[in-house]
Subunit: 366 residues, 4 copies
């Protein structure tokens, strides 16, 4: 049911296929009065765009964004913001061979089961290319959050079995190296591993960590719309993500309550602070004023040129070697997508939270 619409107040509707004319998003419910221009959105799109290193697909897309509505004289008007990104380097012929074949690790078989047929060109709607529209929407959400001094930063936490060393953490490296890995030495090791993997016609996955700072306590809705639940949905909705954990995450399941609980005290500024942040900034689904920390597991790119066994739509067993232009790893390109989905979710929840107390409603209404 309308699976391409996301959000409650800050609501986004995305559209477009890998090899269609264009991709886009309509953002409805963005507050009026936010200064925004195409360049700001483009900056995030450039972080996601293909062809920037040898570790990404060689498809050549400039991913140029155009604002079609909702911005007047440089400011959001409060009405729908439509963003469009034309496709320019579709080579649909590359895909004619998968018309009848279901690629392992892809949604091909599921889409055919669901819809009876599919736009097979580059995966159609199920392609990772769909995330360009998310990134465009996320850039606007981030702009709104920046006005509230909220920052969202994601980065590559691990590739294969190579993790960053927290002692080497260097935030600038996120935008500096082609793997978005904030640890130069881990990034170098990861590149060697990727080179080796590529030489075997194979692919790799990894983990993305995301930190949200500046979010005040009290954001999140009780019971079903817990902030972590909503973030989890938004992140798992990114094609290749297979798991998420907050704070201590799966390790919390192994320790004692006395260790996992974050004890609190008033600091010298009279602010409530915690000795630890095992909760990852969310308790009972509500932000506790500490940084929100989560990690997402990204599977290895399913498109590999190694031979794989599979089946055809017409009922035969077969083998496939996936040609075309594919990423040996999508973790680094997914970093900005994770930021985007977190940003849209946080923006939505901040707007929702405005209605939580009658004294705010009265103050606002006057």
């Amino acid at each position: 049911m309308a699976g391409s619409v996301y959000g409650n107040i800050f609501k986004i509707s995305t559209w477009g296929e890998s090899h269609g004319k264009a991709l886009g998003v309509v953002i409805d419910g963005c507050p009026s009065g936010i200064n925004i221009c195409e360049e700001e959105i483009q900056k995030d799109l450039d972080r996601r765009k293909p062809g920037t290193s040898k570790y990404t697909t060689q498809r050549n897309e400039s991913d140029k964004v155009e604002i079609m509505s909702g911005v007047f004289e440089g400011k959001t008007t409060g009405t729908p913001i439509s963003l469009i990104i034309y496709n320019t380097d579709q080579r649909s012929k590359d895909y004619s061979n998968i018309l009848n074949v279901y690629r392992p690790g892809h949604a091909d078989f599921g889409y055919d089961s669901k819809y009876g047929f599919r736009d097979y060109r580059g995966g159609g709607r199920s392609s990772g290319r769909e995330t360009a529209a998310r990134v465009a929407a996320g850039a606007i959400a981030k702009k709104m959050l920046s006005l509230l001094n909220i920052d969202i930063t994601a980065y590559t936490y691990s590739i294969g079995n190579i993790k960053i060393n927290i002692n080497n953490f260097n935030k600038e490296e996120i935008l500096n190296n082609s793997l978005s890995m904030p640890d130069v030495s881990a990034a170098e090791s990861a590149k060697l591993l990727l080179n080796e993997t590529m030489s075997k016609n194979d692919s790799l996955g990894g983990v993305i960590q995301c930190e949200i700072t500046g979010l005040k306590s009290g954001i999140g809705e009780p019971v079903f719309d817990k902030l972590d639940a909503a973030i989890a949905k938004s992140i798992l909705s990114i094609g290749a993500v297979k798991g998420i954990e907050f704070g201590l995450g799966f390790k919390a399941a192994e320790v004692n309550g006395s260790f996992n609980n974050d004890e609190m005290y008033f600091n010298d500024d009279g602010k409530v602070v915690k000795y630890t942040n095992n909760s990852g900034g969310i308790l009972g689904g509500i932000s506790d004023g500490f940084p929100i920390i989560f990690r997402a597991a990204v599977k290895p790119t399913p498109s590999i040129s190694k031979t794989q066994k599979t089946v055809t739509k017409s009922g035969e067993n077969t083998e496939i070697q996936i040609k075309g232009r594919h990423d040996p790893i999508i973790v680094s390109r997914a970093v900005v997508v994770v930021e985007a989905m977190a940003a849209v979710t946080i923006a939505d929840f901040i707007l929702m939270n405005m209605c939580s107390r009658i004294d705010n409603v009265i103050k606002f209404y006057k």
Copy 2:
């Protein structure tokens, strides 16, 4: 914004506090004609109810469910089904000492930040007691799914560092032992560990695994309403859950694509099958016809009687020892809650999927 409503077509609204008069749920959008009675719902509530072993709170609640509407002559009518569970063993005095104190690991501070004050008795709305209403709704969703031959089974996968051994797997033990652990020997070890933990006034967490079998391929909606994304939200909305992973999960981030991809073939019955199920039954957000497998990390109960540092609402640093009747572990009681949330989500997505193809619409409309 209305965080206590969940679902799109099969929609549930829960209400009630730990120490209020009652808890309940209204289910709107359940198809007509399903045979349902209070006994069937009670069965699941009994799996969650407190006081059944020494590893659960000694609060004495029968958690008796009553159908208030939506069922006529034993069958659902298609209109809202209202279920109510009266509280009978509230002892609110136990909680007067936390009126002014924020318990570590709890939502107390967040609720006060959000709403300005809170129903502090037993955690009010943020109490795990809220999940009784989910279980009641889940029982009806499961009944609907059983008519489609879909089964949902969750169990304790690990407690602390003690995991079940898959070679000892015994499904009957899920309902047999007080820890819902389908491995007798692991359950015994876990009990010893729990006894020791309790003697130290501490608590433990664990991991719940859930398997959904019988779901056909093609269920799930593209992009934001991917089936795994929706399940993730539903499971992370359970208070103590800090992480979720599907299929290989976080391990998928460490392996090669050629390993992670599930190769396919036609079996002798002409059915598409996979050599492995690393995807956990979902690809691109759409079910692939294989069992859906996920694991949820449950944190240790935050209410412990060990002394902890914390702060008061009125601005002082303080210490707290949480008395009252608390579970040393909530994993086993959460097992049926996980089943319930998965069931409500799957029921909702099956109904949504009915509209995916025009030929089905035409056939149905005639």
Copy 3:
């Protein structure tokens, strides 16, 4: 889908059948900190309850409301408010004769077409009794609006062909006379007409007018969620309503633009005012700061004891005389239902509007 849930932020879920155990509503998204008690809700329920005059059904229901959750120490907590009204005077035997017969003017045939069968006792879910839950929810919405100095007043505008004379308008009469008609003399004529109608075993309808004062300009959402569109839906969702018009309404279709347009000027207080209010307080779906005025057409009660031709479920032509306890007119009892639905809608839209400008978001967030 899930047709018993209404609203976006201020969201209500109603449940219950005419001859079930009880009726109720869950209100999710009501801001915290509003003082509310059962007596305030009861006041509105008493205006709707049956048996208060000879012009209403003689069913004897006290319609006693009980707050089950969401209110702590007299104030809303921000979490779901559950309200319950037990049925006490069901006489289901009265209805056994319609088990197999479709009553003209009722939803019987439609419900059977949709669901395959129906709870036929007193119309089940399609009974006007369902509106008790709306009135209970409306009382809480009105309480919230009263804190913003917004008043909602509905009254009987006409019964059959007898209209109130605006020169005789007396607001106190709305609560004074049994027809809720703010014109003593029109009320007397209407009673005579009703007596005559009842003597012929027939029924009558009428028009309800509603005025919303104190609403500031700028409330309403563009395009599909126009304020008048939302009010229209909420009012047409009341069983017997067959039409609605705002301001000049259908007369606007007959006049010139120069007459219909409301010219504006600044009054001595520097406030924008209009010479006329033909718009009924809404332009382009957004409130213009003037009173919102609308009228709803209520059809005559379909349950009459006059003989009518109809059909049976089992396929025969037949005749029916509807016995039981029925209102000869439902207009006066529907007055408070109209107020309730308008109140819930306005409350919801005021909350939604809080997010419209970034400067408000920033101010609020600090």
Copy 4:
């Protein structure tokens, strides 16, 4: 909150301003497998487009629609359908004079109250031009409905005080004459009236009637999502509509129940039929299998060149003569918009209804 999104399963998101780059709509939730091409959509857009007679604005827009996504090899894929219509004849200079002035009868003042400022060019988002996107979406909904043999036909029922005579009804005239009036002689009288009105620099409104045939009984959801309530919202969301009535409508408020009730019988084919259709095809919010009939009151165009008193944003009283290219009447152009909104609503409700009975769910699932 996201007021530009409409529908539950068949969900549309529109965007664009009168003088922006383009207008568009994203349709999410349309079933897969429907044959659709741009020409079919264009046909309806041509009925709405300006400049086709002297009774419409002379703005010269071809309103050429382009399908951007969601259609593959001529069939809908089940994923979002994005439609775009570029603006070509904006003359924004025409509007610079209203930058600071609030036009009577327009949303200018409300938008400024709500958002702090507005895109004043041609009314921006509040312009009637926004309805082009609705018509495009409606064309696809109509295509879906045509496959179920459901027809939606709207027409001009009256202009000013000139009504069609039902004895002269000629359906072909709807597309034949410039006023979409299915009565040649009434159309001639209306043209004379319009000529006279235009010569006085004034405008006129009228009533649109809409008939939906072929809809089976049982469509509509109980309580808040009654079919008539949903249609009412969809039609009142069209800018200039000030009222709606179903079947007898406001006249039902004046007659007796015995007159208003539609008696039923089995016809020779064993089908349930009604002697009358005073209900307008909907009872208790559920279709009764008879044609759905409703009428919408359209106000006179507020943009007139006659001098009107009004106020400026900067706080002065002033006068305005609205120049530019305006329709002396918008009724005829709104006819296809009414059809579109009805079509989208009916399509959505048919899809929702698929889930109403468990036997259908079981049958479908197999």
